[in-house]
């Protein structure tokens, strides 16, 4: 189907089903119950899952295939957000032109940075991209927000004001990002028994775009171009002596992944018409590296899993506080309860980074292939166990 083989098609179909049914899948607990805090099916978080999924899929095209580790991809995300908000400010709240502009601007920006950074490889490439991203951050944070020429609105962040021109805006249209009149924030609540589910227009726009982007990533992975990118990672020397110039390949991969990042940035602004410089900071660049490695660099589904994993922890673990812990451990005697809360306390709330760090270390040490490798090992183990049991049975039979 669609030029994919059977395995890839089924992967795409699974991803499509999961993303479309996410409002159900992520809300497994009744809304009134104590477990409801582990529900992730609210629009804001679901949007973040798919947007960072797109970001990580794009990053994986560069890092997973060519092995070039960019530490500056947040710059493209930030540039995408800024361009989308400018589109809102100047023309209209329609998300399509805004997203289109953010992809184009991110492509041009990544072409420039990639052209310079890709003159070096390995650690030097990483440092160059990091330097460029931090420069972009500094530009956005202070330099480009002086009163004479205010492109980024500095610390406050770029947002839409009532006196902005918005040339194509009409009163009949919603006063927030919309898709031809359908507000990105319009949400349909569905109550089934004790459960409640949210179906958000913005989420479904992001989900559809993510599926298209996932499909494109599969095509790139399986194409001769993707094979050349893996060849770059495997042996540049042989590539050179095969009459192939690695530079255009790496640059193309860099620009493609920059466009994915710009798209993610544009979608972020489309969900919430704000753009701040902190989106370009190195921590944001590092986050996508973590997502990709955690999920499994070089695999198709890995980055999406990694993005979902990190965003879930960020939003759910950080919301657990001491009161909730006391509730959980209330069955223990008083002294033990306080002791347990004391032990667990550093890992929750603001300390969720600690949990993430430990998870990341465990995954990198024990599952170098990321969560995908974990899944494969689990699958193999289950299969072998099934087989082993069957063999044991056949062995026993003659004895009887």
């Amino acid at each position: 189907m669609l030029g994919l083989d059977k395995k890839d098609t089924s992967l795409l179909v699974i991803v499509a089903i999961l993303t479309l049914l996410a409002p159900f899948i992520l809300n497994p607990f009744p809304s009134g119950s104590a477990m409801a805090q582990f529900n992730a099916g609210y629009p804001d978080l679901m949007q973040r899952f798919v947007i960072f999924g797109i970001f990580a899929i794009g990053f994986n095209i560069l890092f997973g295939l060519t092995g070039y580790l960019s530490f500056g991809h947040a710059a493209f995300l930030g540039v995408g957000s800024y361009s989308a908000v400018w589109m809102f400010k100047l023309f209209s709240y329609n998300v399509i032109p805004a997203i289109a502009l953010s992809v184009v601007v991110a492509a041009l920006f990544s072409l420039l940075i990639g052209y310079i950074s890709l003159r070096r490889s390995g650690i030097y490439f990483s440092i160059l991209t990091l330097a460029f991203a931090q420069m972009s951050f500094a530009l956005a944070y202070s330099v480009l927000s002086n009163p004479k020429f205010n492109l980024t609105n500095g610390e406050t962040g770029l947002q839409v004001y009532a006196d902005d021109p918005q040339l194509f805006h009409r009163d009949s249209l919603p006063d927030m990002p919309h898709l031809f009149g359908l507000s990105m924030r319009s949400t349909y609540h569905l109550d089934i028994g004790a459960w409640s589910f949210d179906f958000n227009a913005g989420y479904y726009l992001c989900a559809v775009i993510m599926m298209v982007m996932f499909y494109l990533a599969i095509r790139i992975f399986r194409s001769p171009f993707g094979m050349m990118l893996r060849a770059v990672k495997s042996n540049q020397q042989r590539m050179n002596y095969t009459g192939l110039n690695p530079r255009p390949y790496t640059l193309a991969a860099f620009v493609i992944s920059g466009m994915y990042a710009g798209l993610a940035g544009g979608l972020m602004a489309a969900m919430d018409p704000l753009a701040g410089a902190e989106r370009m900071q190195w921590t944001a660049s590092g986050e996508v590296v973590l997502m990709t490695i955690l999920g499994g660099a070089g695999t198709l589904i890995g980055p999406v899993l990694g993005a979902g994993f990190i965003k879930y922890f960020e939003n759910i673990f950080s919301k657990i506080n001491d009161n909730i812990l006391h509730q959980w451990f209330s069955f223990l005697p008083d002294g033990f309860e306080d002791f347990m809360v004391f032990i667990v306390h550093p890992f929750i709330g603001k300390g969720w980074h600690l949990t993430l760090g430990i998870m990341f270390m465990l995954v990198v040490i024990f599952l170098p292939g990321g969560l995908v490798e974990g899944g494969q090992r689990l699958g193999n183990w289950l299969r072998n166990r099934g087989k082993g049991a069957a063999e044991a049975k056949t062995k026993q039979e003659p004895a009887e």
Partner: protein, 251 residues
């Protein structure tokens, strides 16, 4: 006029004169061996031919065109392929993919953004790669990871990858280094077969005299960065200067 003309080439690394006044002419459709003791400048000379190093002086002409100042991939496109001392293949890729890459390069040139191909678009390349694998007798291994193969098989694959581009000059840098005797003999047979079946010029650097004397039409002896003698294998065998410099016998 040979297909490869090296004139007065010199190369200096700091205080070491690695090559000085190298003059060498490789005639078309012959096997030309370059031998010499360790540190004689053989590998430096080879690196000057493929664009990895640029000599300080002199000229290197391939088929009437200078190769100096060109990038390795451009020199490859002129028709020079190189086999390395340790097989340089795409270890993370399958054997089939390894073979497809040079076939794509042969068809499309240095860069082709073939990101969303149709199956038809790849058909000729797949056929070409399959044909080459059959010729190298490794079609049954096509789904293997290249890194998992034996040294001899890697060498075979690398030679096959070079041949799939139909080069006019094949450079071999100690193709049997570190190989078991059986693998060495297989490689010699393969190279003999290539020499007979194809219009190809081969320049070979080798330590193993057995390999050199079973393949070469012409031998140049390099010592301390300059050619000592150049002659046919029979004459080289008996040459007193060569015995002294290379085979380590006093005359």
């Amino acid at each position: 006029m040979g297909i490869l003309e090296i004139k007065n080439v010199g190369k200096r690394f700091g205080g070491l004169q690695a090559l000085s006044n190298v003059n060498l002419s490789v005639a078309e459709n012959t096997v030309h061996a370059i031998i010499g003791p360790n540190g004689a400048g053989k590998s430096t000379l080879l690196n000057c031919l493929v664009g990895k190093l640029i000599p300080d002086s002199g000229s290197v002409m391939f088929d009437g065109q200078s190769v100096l100042g060109r990038a390795p991939y451009e020199i490859n496109q002129m028709g020079i392929s190189r086999v390395f001392q340790t097989p340089e293949i795409f270890g993370d890729l399958t054997v089939m993919e390894n073979m497809m890459i040079p076939c794509f390069a042969k068809r499309d040139g240095a860069f082709e953004l073939n990101a969303l191909p149709s199956v038809r678009n790849q058909k000729d390349v797949v056929e070409h790669a399959m044909h080459m694998l059959e010729e190298m007798r490794m079609a049954d291994k096509r789904h293997m990871h290249a890194a998992a193969m034996s040294r001899g098989d890697k060498r075979r694959l690398e030679i096959g990858m070079c041949l799939s581009q139909e080069p006019r000059l094949l450079l071999l840098d100690e193709p049997t280094a570190g190989m078991a005797r059986a693998d060495t003999n297989n490689t010699i047979d393969l190279l003999k077969q290539i020499k007979e079946e194809r219009d190809i010029t081969i320049a070979i650097i080798e330590h193993d005299m057995h390999v050199v004397f079973s393949l070469a039409d012409r031998i140049t002896v390099l010592a301390q960065g300059t050619p000592l003698v150049e002659d046919s294998p029979e004459k080289i065998k008996g040459h007193p200067k060569v015995r002294e410099a290379y085979l380590g016998e006093s005359a």
